[in-house]
């Protein structure tokens, strides 16, 4: 019965992890930093468009965990959007395959300024294990100007959150970035 589950949830409180001790304390500090930074710079929210430009889908699995109740990304004002036209950030995974290169470039062109590109995962940095393949152009910077890299194969959800928060803080201190 769904009502029983809901009642239990009410009684036991949320399962979303509080932003306290490690690794949760990290999240708490970042949450506070984010709130201040994002408010100055962007208002309350940052819209993220995720793009897979050649990943094995490992990074997608961990990024998708951010939307669940444990990491609950939206409490930080971060949210995933369905169109690049609604996005502030492109969160890009994978090496850039030659076949995805045109679509990735077009997605970036469709994203309004100011915009940021975050390269997620070791492949996104320099092609990772696929470096040297005939089928890729390299890391994300072979197609787009990258603002931030988040390492890991795949990075943990905490590492991805950490990176997104660092991006906001850095940009809040800078004047508007030229395209």
């Amino acid at each position: 019965m769904a009502w029983r589950e809901m009642f239990r949830a009410l009684r036991e409180g949320p399962l979303t992890e509080p932003a306290t001790p490690p690794p949760e304390d990290e999240v708490a500090i970042l949450a506070a930093r984010l709130k201040a930074a994002a408010f100055n710079r962007l208002g309350r929210t940052l819209a993220i468009r995720q793009v897979d430009s050649g990943s094995c889908n490992g990074c997608e699995l961990e990024i998708a965990m951010l939307t669940g109740i444990v990491y609950d990304l939206e409490r930080f004002g971060l949210k995933f959007v369905a169109s690049p036209r609604h996005a502030d950030v492109l969160l890009v995974t994978g090496p850039v395959t030659r076949t995805m290169h045109p679509a990735l470039t077009r997605t970036w062109q469709a994203t309004p300024d100011p915009k940021w590109v975050v390269a997620v995962g070791d492949c996104a940095i320099d092609g990772g294990v696929f470096k040297g393949s005939y089928a890729i152009t390299g890391g994300i910077d072979s197609a787009l100007p990258v603002d931030l890299v988040i390492r890991g194969c795949p990075p943990t959800p905490t590492a991805i959150l950490d990176g997104l928060c660092a991006l906001i803080e850095a940009n809040a201190r800078e004047p508007r970035r030229p395209r």
């Binding site: 995720q50 793009v51 889908n57 965990m65 669940g68 393949s133 005939y134």
Partner: protein
């Protein structure tokens, strides 16, 4: 002659554990035609090397697995696709990668090669430079009054892999779906060549990240078969543990996502919570949430951590305790029944014709499970139950996966309580030979083929179960409404990266 009689005339080439038969072109052509009258011979995979085209067949009646090859002559070989339509995507892939054309193949359009590579036929003995500009894709036509097309992708609206879906619709109803993949082609097969199996295992582990363990196991099996060695018992048992953890984690995540696509929030929250718990247990037990690179040819990279078994058992006990209540909610929610039942129905005859593996096959009456047949350690001693339904709709695929979670928990307990002592890996000799390896990933049966010379890979193919499931999604979606496509797609959850190679 019957297909079996033709096979009996073939010469054998050493390939462990299934000797490979080689037919000449006329015998292969006759064999391809005879397949029409032999539905029990299922096509599991079709691939190539610079000189030959290879098929892996399964005889449903005798439970034999038969690799069969044909030499390519002046760039041609007789097609299997007229009698085995599942061969069509493989034939298109073979032409793009090796340049061998399936004469009389039912579809001659390019597949992986969208015209953006620097060379054409990159795996051929002599690839040629790509001088032509990329051309727009050609799609199959649908004719009739009031039809319109919806083009989706390659960049999708969610957090998923890229691919292009071309829907032809009449109002809300989908008349035809054509899927175009290849966007994630990373040249994996080319990268395997010239490497030792140990070094190459990193690529097998990244063919499809959600099946990293299952692909690493199949790859290790192929390498071990080619070298004539077997991984130590503790390694195979822990591989089984990792494989079942991966299955549970994927089932939990996908069931939650399917129900989430039907806009019912309570269950995805709970399933997502348990998925996270499983990933954390995996990280504690094996040092990595997805257990990437933990399985290597010869055994394991690292042993189970001291507290690992306890972490896993505690996590699955919590799932087991809550699952019946969650299933009750699923059963009692009429809006879910309305959305999921009789949606995206895959007919059993189609599942059989395409030899659909995993929960896609088992929700449509095809019971095949590579843990049972041909089987592999540690499952040879465990008597795995394959849950099988025949409704073939989204609901049936969810129910098969729910039942598989329970079964995997049972297997995990057995494996962890009877864990052998001893080494976790042995070195592979610098051998020459050919091997086929397999495993049952959460999606279904995975098949890897390797040829080694002096301990280095000279040719390889890694077959994800999605090759035989994607085409069926195209069939299952017909007559459904566009708004139900996400549900249907998620309920199949085929791998993009896994087939893009």
């Amino acid at each position: 002659m019957t297909a079996h009689a033709i096979l009996d005339t073939a010469a054998f080439v050493a390939c462990a554990p299934f000797p490979r038969r080689v037919l000449d072109q006329s015998a292969w052509a006759e064999f391809a035609a005879a397949l029409a009258a032999t539905p029990a011979l299922e096509l599991l995979a079709l691939w190539a090397d610079p000189t030959h085209v290879h098929a892996l067949l399964h005889d449903r009646d005798s439970a034999d697995f038969l690799p069969v090859s044909v030499a390519v002559e002046i760039g041609l070989y007789p097609a299997l696709s007229p009698t085995r339509p599942a061969a069509a995507w493989f034939e298109r892939m073979i032409r793009d990668l090796w340049g061998h054309t399936a004469a009389d193949g039912i579809d001659q359009r390019p597949w992986l090669d969208h015209g953006h590579w620097a060379t054409t036929t990159p795996l051929a003995a002599r690839p040629s430079p790509n001088l032509a500009a990329a051309e727009p894709a050609e799609f199959l036509t649908s004719e009739g009054e009031g039809l319109h097309q919806i083009a989706v992708g390659p960049v999708h609206a969610g957090i998923i892999e890229p691919g292009h879906f071309r829907f032809t619709c009449n109002g809300e109803t989908i008349v035809r779906l054509e899927i175009r993949l290849g966007y994630l082609h990373k040249g994996t097969l080319g990268l395997l060549r010239g490497k030792s199996p140990r070094a190459a295992a990193r690529f097998a582990a990244r063919l499809s990240g959600d099946s990293t363990v299952a692909h690493a196991i199949a790859f290790a099996h192929a390498a071990e078969a080619a070298c004539g060695v077997a991984a130590p018992p503790r390694a195979t048992q822990l591989r089984g543990v990792m494989g079942e953890i991966e299955r549970i984690a994927n089932h939990l995540g996908d069931i939650g996502a399917i129900i989430g696509d039907a806009s019912f929030a309570v269950l995805p929250a709970r399933f997502g919570w348990h998925r996270e718990a499983v990933l954390r247990a995996a990280a504690r037990a094996f040092g990595h949430r997805l257990m990437m690179d933990a399985v290597i040819p010869g055994g394991l990279a690292e042993d189970l951590a001291t507290e690992g078994a306890r972490a896993i058992l505690a996590t699955v006990a919590a799932i087991e305790a809550e699952l019946p209540g969650l299933v009750r909610i699923y059963d009692d929610t009429s809006s879910l029944a309305d959305r999921l039942q009789s949606t995206g129905t895959l007919r059993p005859d189609l599942a059989e014709r395409f030899a659909a593996g995993g929960f896609v096959g088992r929700a449509s009456g095809r019971r095949f499970d590579a843990r049972r047949i041909p089987g592999y350690a540690p499952y040879d001693r465990l008597d795995v139950t394959a849950v099988c339904l025949d409704q073939g709709d989204v609901d049936a695929r969810v129910r098969v996966r729910l039942a598989e979670i329970t079964e995997s928990i049972r297997l995990l307990r057995l494996l962890l309580t009877e864990l052998s002592d001893g080494p976790i890996a042995l070195p592979l000799p610098m051998a020459s030979g050919e091997g086929i390896g397999w495993s049952e990933g959460f999606r279904g049966d995975i098949w890897h083929w390797l040829r080694l010379e002096g301990g280095l890979i000279t040719a390889a193919f890694l077959a994800d179960p999605s090759w035989r499931q994607w085409p069926l999604l195209q069939a299952a979606i017909e007559g459904n409404i566009v708004a139900d496509f996400p549900l249907c797609n998620k309920s199949f959850n085929c791998s993009y990266s896994g087939v893009d190679l």
